[in-house]
Each structure stands twice: as C-alpha cells, then as structure tokens.
Symmetry: C2
Subunit: 430 residues, 2 copies
Amino acid sequence: MAPTKSSSLNVSMIVIGDEILSGRTSDLNGNWLAKFLFKTGLNFKAIRFIQDDQNEIFKALNSSFEESEIVITSGGIGPTLDDKTKNSLASYFNKKIIERDDVAEIVTKNYIQFGRTWTKEHNNYHFFPEDFTATNNPRGLAPGITYFDHTKNKLLLAGPGVPREFTQIVEQEFLPIIKHNFSNRFQENFQTVIRTKGVAEEKIFFELCPTLWQELENFGKVSSLPHTIGIDIIVSYYGNLDEHNLKLKKIRSIIELSQLATHVWQYGNKPINEMVLEYANENKFLFAFAESCTGGLVSSKITDLSGASSTFLGGVISYANSAKSHLLNVQDDTLNKFGAVSIETATEMAIGARDQFKADFAVSISGIAGPGGGTVQKPTGTVVIGYASKNINGARSFIFPGDRIRRKERFADMALLTLLELMQNRITQD
Amino acid sequence: MAPTKSSSLNVSMIVIGDEILSGRTSDLNGNWLAKFLFKTGLNFKAIRFIQDDQNEIFKALNSSFEESEIVITSGGIGPTLDDKTKNSLASYFNKKIIERDDVAEIVTKNYIQFGRTWTKEHNNYHFFPEDFTATNNPRGLAPGITYFDHTKNKLLLAGPGVPREFTQIVEQEFLPIIKHNFSNRFQENFQTVIRTKGVAEEKIFFELCPTLWQELENFGKVSSLPHTIGIDIIVSYYGNLDEHNLKLKKIRSIIELSQLATHVWQYGNKPINEMVLEYANENKFLFAFAESCTGGLVSSKITDLSGASSTFLGGVISYANSAKSHLLNVQDDTLNKFGAVSIETATEMAIGARDQFKADFAVSISGIAGPGGGTVQKPTGTVVIGYASKNINGARSFIFPGDRIRRKERFADMALLTLLELMQNRITQD
C-alpha cells in the first residue's frame, strides 16, 4: 500500500472556457501547472474543465474549495464579452464590482510594458471586485484577480488562459501570494523515475520482476506509465534532498540486480532531447540528422531547446527518394535493391548527412509511419535508424505501434536515444 | 445574449491518474473527446482530472452524474497494481467483483489481435463487476467497462488512458452503446470560424468593428480566441446542414463588408497544414522548405498528414550558417553583409531550396526564436519568411510574441500560410 499522503497544501485548478470543451483548442496550462506544483511541493488535487457560465463556475468553486485551500483558475479574464469569470468570482464571495483607481494603475502598467497606453475607454479592466487584489500580468494586459478569504483560510487566484501569460503570472505573482498566506506549510516532493526500453509493462511486472512493485512501495507511491521509448516506472515520496538521494541509490541497486537492468536507459526524468544536447555540448560534439518519415521532427525536438546552435548543425529532410540520392548521396542501386526503408539506405543516409554537414555524428530515420505503406516484410510501424561516426556506421530496425503522429514521436525519440548511445560509444558494430 | 442551450445529451469526462496531476504526462484524450463529441452533437459539460483514489473517483462520479447522463472515464484500467478504477466503479454502483467467463472470452480476443494468448494467470482482467458489460479494446488488451443504470437513466463508460486505445474504444465500442441507450436524442452542432491575421483582439472589437460581437450573437454563441497566426472568432449553434450553410453565408457577408475583411485568411476550421497539402495536391504542385529557427517544425507539420509524400519533396534544416551556404547556396557575402536573419538571406535560402529539390515552390524561415539572440534592430521574435517560385522571389518580416516554443509554432504556421499564398499567386513582388 502507498504511504499516507502528506498534509501538504492542496491546490485545485479550474480551466474556464468553451473553446476547450468544444475541441477548438487544447489546454496547456494544466500540464504546466502540474509540473510547477510538483516542484514547489504543493499537492495537485484536481483539474476541472468547465464552460464559461456562472452556475458552472460556482459548482466548480464549491467542489474545489471543499478539497483544497488554494484554487487557481485559468481563462475568461480578457476584455471580450464572453468573459463572465470576473463577475462570477465576485458574486461567489458576495462582492460588488466597482470602479477602482488602484486597478486602473496596474492595467496602465501592463499596457506600458508593450509600449501601449491604456485609457478607461479601452475596456472594463478597472471595474473590479471590492476587497479583491489585482496583480500585474508580466506577459499580458488583463490583471490577475486574487482574493484571500481570511475567515475560511481559502485563497482564490484567477489568471489568463493564454499559456505564456498564465505561466508567468503564476510564477511571478501568484506563488509569492501563496507563500505569504500559507508560510511554513511547504513540503518537497521527489520522484525516482526508472525509464525502460524494449519490454512490455506486463512482462516487467508479471514475468521479469513479479515482486518489484511491492518492493518499490516500501519507498513511496508507485506508478507505471508507457512513454514514447518504453515503460517508465515512477516512485514518488515527500522528504528532503538527502532522503531523496538515499532512496534513489537504494532503488537503483534493486533494479540493477534485477532482470530489468539491461532494459533501463535512464534513472531520471530528463527528456531525451535534453540528454542529447547536454552530452553533445559537454563533449563539444557536432551532429546532424537525415530524416525521412519523421519529416523534421527529430531536428525540431532538438531546436526546441535554447542553446541548440552550439552543437546542432542541421539536417536534411529527404522525403522524396530523389532528395535521398541528390542531397545525401544515397546510391540509386541501394534504393532500387533494398528500398527506402532498409538497413542499407538508412546507413547511407547517416553517412551522407555526416559528410554534408561535416558533423562528428549523424543519425538517420527511414520508416513507415502509416496508416498506409506497410507490406508483409515491412509492416506499418517499421522504422530503420541509421548512425554514422568516424569509427562506426550501421542501422537498427524497430517496429512501433500507434497512429501516424504517435509513431513519428516514438521514431523521433528512438533516433535521439540512438544518437546518445552513438556519442557515448555504446553501439557496437553488428 | 447567447441563445438558450439545446436539450442535447450531456457528457462529462473523468481523467483518472496520478501521472497527469504530477505533471509526468499531459492528457491528449480530453481534447480528442471534445472534438469527437462536438461532431456527434453531444454537449460536453466538464472534464475532471483526479487522482486514482476511491474517494476522488466517487466524488467526481457524483458531480458528473449530477450534470450529465453519460460519464466517460479514461485511465486506470490496466493490469498493474495502481489501477483502482475497476473496483471503485463497481463499489459506486454497489456491485461485487466476480470471476466472469464472458469477460475472459473478450480478453482472449483482445490478446489474439496482437497475436498473443491470454490465460487467467496473466492478470485479473476477467474479475469484473457483476451486471456490468465488458467491451472489446480495438487497440489494446484491457476490456472497456460499461454500465447502464436503467432506473436513473445514467450511462457509465470506462476506457483506457493510452490515447490510441481510448480514441478507438470510444469510436467503435462506446458510441454505439450511447446511441443504443439514448436513441433519438442527438442534435448536430455547427461552428462558423473566422480566422484573422495581423490584428489584435482588442483592435477588432473596440476599434475596427465595435458592434460585430452583438451582430454575431444573433446567429449563436460567440467566442474569440488567439491562435498561432492571429485571432479566431467562433460562432456556434445547433441546427442542420442547410441552416448552417445559410448562417455561414450571412456571417461571411457581414464580415466582408466590415473593416475586418482584409485580415481574414479563412472562413473555417481547417488547420493551415491541411490547407497547404490539399491545395498542392489538387494542383499537382511540388514544394520544399529551407528552415533555420523553426528547425524542421514546418516540414514536420506537413508530414503529420498522410499523403504528404505526393507533393512534399523535403527540406534542408540549415541551422548552422555553413549549412546555409553549403546546402542552399546562400552567398557568404549575403550572410556577412546582412546576417542570417535578413530579407536577403531568407530570399536566397528559398531560391536555394527550390533549386536543390527541383520544386515548384519553396519557402524559407530564418528568425530569432529566443530567449536570447535579439538585437535592437532585430528583436527576439523577429522572423523573415522567404519565398521562391518560377515567377517571383522575396521575403517578408514579422515580429511575434511568445516564448521559444510558441514562437516556433507561430513562425511555422506563418510560413505555411506564406506557402499557400505563394501557390495561390497572391503574393505580389514588393
């Protein structure tokens, strides 16, 4: 059984807006807030996605404040007429909306950061619930809306729905308000993450290591989760950094003595693109890609990270076969004899990319993302990942389930893991 | 005021699992379900993300069944020990878990589709709530869990958390059960979407068209939403296809007579990558990209779509300047004199990509995604998008707000819009 939950502060989130429930947009703030709260040691109780409607807002506030001391809302505080949030929040606490000069000042400041001027004719931002506190919006115009109910010890924090605004207002404005109102109630939370490849969830827990789950529960709460490359096993617990390091060490030694050991590629939670970029930067390695079915996704994942330019030279997306031969010097014979998705072609693609970019290392990807294109010999989901360095070249083949988008993700992450192993000199010539 | 809501069937969703609230993964099923329910005419009331815990599940079921006839859950039905969902759902309806041969048969079928055999020693899938109905899982192993409460007219549908499994089980198994139990209660929902570029939300509604919002509310519920390229205005309403087409026509004529007309780039909801691919396919155009700061994202967006290979030749990711000159024939003089982020370099990149891939059209992207790298003349967020066809070449410069990831998205979508306008012969030489 999992250990008793800590008495840490609870947070509930309410995401307000029809555009999410109608499928027009997907929410990014919930996932971001989950990560942020985890780091700060706050316990994330629940997220509720609701329509921008006073009854729904009241109902969600009731349930949220029942379970949590802190409720954070996102969305519905902009200047357009569908934004009913501010009025509903005021009514919920029986406050009137009044014209407030102190809020007008904050709005003026919000506009100035974009080089713009605000007047009362622009919008109704300065009409604000009495007794509430407005905050700056470091990346937007609408002020944050906050209220601490001293009698019930409950804190309401309402931010904008746009992710770049929401994340900054939570970090810079809301967190200090939480700390101020609930000082000395923080507790840090840690996780040990065991990331595996090439083994199914059931095989781990029913065949390879039938007692592992119970053993890990001695350390904290256990969960397992399929990820792009394989299954992640997560053990999470409260404590301090020393306790965490000790648990991590003990868990690691259990795994390393188990049947699972050869399948583990990371003890930790670092995305594979960051692992690649850090390792290349530390070693001053230069790398490049040749992508076919991933269509630029591998390179895009690397360039999501700032600092990519010091080690990533570029890539060729050789979607058409003519591009494979013309830009990567893949031999026409190879393409004709073995096909685009083959050990031979992928190897030549990697060698070609390494040459073209004058890179230390190159990795190539050629596969069948689907839904069509599969054959009996090469079913949909087949991917061949080629590699080339000064000392070694070759390719490895995998088959991944999923739909087209999911496969592109898995192919891309497996290509990044291959590049990491190539740079670490952990691939041996077959 | 928005028109009264239809009496359509309500659906609430409960997403169960610690991995989402701890930030380990982000949910994809909520957004997918929103789109799916919208198409089927069902009204999506709310989504609740909760921890995998019986109390939380009970609480969420209570609130959900209070507002909705149908509750769909995702997550927590796998074979590992953290999956408490099945037991909680059974207890909620006062049902015992019993060993069931009919469920064992379904599980056996689920395994067979992956070429595997299942026995009762594998896991406890065949221990199942009495009176509940198990469904096939078209893409996975765990059976779907369903129960229709005839006395209260409430339907529970519990599916797996893995998106490829969840989406298929909802489409293939759950929808027929909904239709069976609530026949004749479907109503179709439509949206008219007006997608703009180059104008701020406030400018639209407070300066250009101060009465537009009210005018649009005569047709249905209005909302506005910032998207990558610009602001989208959405009008949504129930009805049939004829009524929808009439409303679309009327709304369009209102917009085309307004100050907003020149800013509209689409009346509709089609992603820009699909618009590009369709237009190129219809006209048998071949295209290629030269990407710098977007690092492959533009090409990746095109290759997210199946059928890309008939019109997309490939791209060069020229992240390093050496790649710009070596692979795209950008002149060293140009790079030295004007810099990588310039009209001149972007134009040469587009011409180079068109030549290298023997394409009809090419678009290039060079910019500063940030957070660093900006200057007074070229602040962070600057992007230059080059274009080249048989008849024309040049480049256009934009500045976008956001963080690195958000800017990459916006740069990429603006590049795709530029390609569309280039193919449509709508770019005139400056």
